[in-house]
Point group: C2
DNA sequence: GCTGTAAATGGAATTATTCCAATTAAAAAG
DNA sequence: CTTTTTAATTGGAATAATTCCATTTACAGC
């Protein structure tokens, strides 16, 4: 597994990233991308559909799914899968884990520093080449987090 | 998060565990439990249904799901959720992560020692009380793992 | 402005899982 | 050991997230 220097990387350009892959930066893709970046609340495809519809009232559900697939494939957003729940989408591209509060359903990003990342990578035996990993917690929050 | 001593714990008694919770150790539950323990290959509910049917030809799919829910709820088996795929079930009750080979689909258990467990626990900020966590990798295997 | 390709659209299809009402089996009580 | 109570099983229908498909629309290069 590749463990990068953990300095916050600049937000990738929506346009150049798509163009580099020969994909078109359509208004639907752009709108889905912006909606995810506007509010860091880990929306589901459903949530995103509702928000995008306010700006593009004729967009279809299929298109939202298509856009999400494209954006995830390009690395412009991350898909978050926790347990068996509907997928959520996340604009945080820095290495992080997720914590889900089972009382409120709210999801929190937990940044992972290089030390932790290398510790996690060290779990892998020789010959196991991970190109992706997921770490998620669920539990409760004390106080008023 | 609780970090236990990592000595292999004895396999929990199917009967006593259910009894303690006021649940009945039925032949269906027992059969599902045994099927999962016989072959450590992370079967899906579907796989389990097929295997159990060989011994209990009248068991229904709903019952397999009910049994799995019960067994997971009792801590007798673990449910493994990787990405958006059908849930898999696992008899390994010791702390471990999962690695999925994207070529073969095969899933491997990666044991987690106390040092790694405490490092993982250290990610949690104060006030975040995890009662559960999931760590999974996906990638490819070099050689003949 | 044409032409070819990619993307968007709406609706149907899929699939894992859950729900429900009726039946059966197990435990408890007598 | 029979009756009663309660829990579990069953089959089928329902649900819900996601994917598929055929058609239409939009964009890019010529």
């Amino acid at each position: 597994m590749h463990v990068s220097k953990n300095s916050k990387s600049p937000p990738p350009s929506f346009f150049s990233t798509l163009r580099e892959k020969g994909l078109r930066p359509t208004k639907q893709r752009n709108c889905v991308f912006r909606v995810i970046n506007e509010k860091q609340d880990h929306p589901t495809a459903d949530d995103i559909f509702v928000r995008v519809r306010r700006r593009l009232p004729t967009i279809s559900f299929a298109t939202v799914y298509n856009c999400l697939e494209t954006l995830v494939g390009c690395g412009l957003v991350k898909q978050v899968n926790i347990d068996r729940e509907p997928a959520r989408y996340c604009s945080n591209l820095n290495p992080h884990a997720h914590f889900k509060c089972i009382k409120t359903g709210k999801i929190f990003d937990l940044p992972l520093d290089d030390l932790v990342l290398s510790k996690i990578a060290s779990i892998l035996p020789r010959g196991f080449n991970a190109d992706h990993f997921d770490l998620s917690f669920s539990g409760t929050l004390t106080d008023l987090n």
